[in-house]
Symmetry: C2
Subunit: 199 residues, 2 copies
């Protein structure tokens, strides 16, 4: 059983994924994926993270002319290596045991495993509130700037997903179920969601 | 408890609604709404159905000039009466007892009741298959024409919803949960869904 979770920033997708993995007694992978890629490629976690969260158009410029310097060619090779490793890591994780995987286009990369695909989203107010509560990327930002940050993270996620999968991030047809967490009590709904996934 | 269901044509939204109402032991309203409006307005069910499924722009033309004939004015009045009655019927149904209501912009009309809002969808292949199975609107149509019909029904639903609610039909933010029925066993998942709704 492989469960993939796509999520809007601040929607609680990671929390839902972690709870779901606990409920089902299966593995949970999120930041572990970056750590594993870093280990295998002997690159720093920070570098790997930066690459996989970058705008893909920056990574693979269409105009080859720009990449003709030695440095650019080298960084392009590193980027390609990281993406190949990401695919390998995800497939090995899915093969090794039942698991929940958050982000990383896992729904697309692992399509042969016929994963159960979840998308987690929420309205802006509740995303802002969640960010402020956990203080992630909030850093005492005024509300307006925080909203801009939330939108920017999701814009990058969408670009990344659309580029690598050829599909549209957040398009309901890519997922088996989409859950609005704005008014949801995650701890209360996860046991029932777990049973739905098993059907 | 009020549960509203928006659905793509052929996605099994009505079946899911009926099963959910059975599971929860509450009322289920779908075609009954049309019947009730017809009874109250002393119009035929067919006429009411035709009005509420029409392109809203035809119903309330922006250019008043076109409606200056006696017949147009009269039909406009009937249309308004039907819509007012629809709102009244839905609110009375929701007030009378817990219920599941399919379609009719119920999520919007009944927003004061804080309904649990479900959207049901599926990929085109499984919608075609479901239509052929139940033979509704399929009528031995070739596949291509059937797809065109399915799209046309949904286009009208979207227009109707967008016009009356000012929101976008199928936009995930309008719903608490969106369920892809393409690979789902409705009978198996409904008991778990029912528990999720109760949380």
């Amino acid at each position: 059983m492989v469960i993939t979770i796509g999520r809007e920033f601040g929607s609680g997708g990671r929390e839902l994924g972690r709870l779901l993995a606990e409920e089902l007694g299966i593995e949970y992978y999120d930041k572990e994926i970056i750590t594993e890629i870093a280990k295998r490629t002997a690159l720093s976690e920070q570098y790997v993270k930066q690459v996989v969260e970058k705008n893909p158009h920056e990574l693979f410029p269409i105009s080859v002319a720009h990449t003709f310097s030695y440095i650019d060619t080298q960084s392009l090779q590193l980027t390609r290596m990281i993406f190949m490793e990401q695919e390998r890591v995800l497939k090995q994780m899915a093969q090794a045991s039942d698991c929940v995987i958050v982000g990383r286009c896992a729904d697309y990369i692992l399509q042969d495993f016929k994963p159960f695909k979840i998308f987690v989203y929420a309205d802006m107010d509740s995303k802002v509130e969640r960010c402020l509560k956990r203080n992630e990327k909030a850093d005492n930002l005024p509300r307006k700037k925080l909203i801009r940050k939330i939108k920017a993270v999701d814009k990058n996620r969408a670009r990344y997903y659309n580029y690598y999968t050829g599909k549209k991030w957040g398009d309901i047809l890519n997922y088996d179920i989409c859950i609005n967490t704005s008014n949801a009590d995650l701890k209360a709904i996860v046991p029932h969601l777990a049973k739905m996934v098993k059907e």
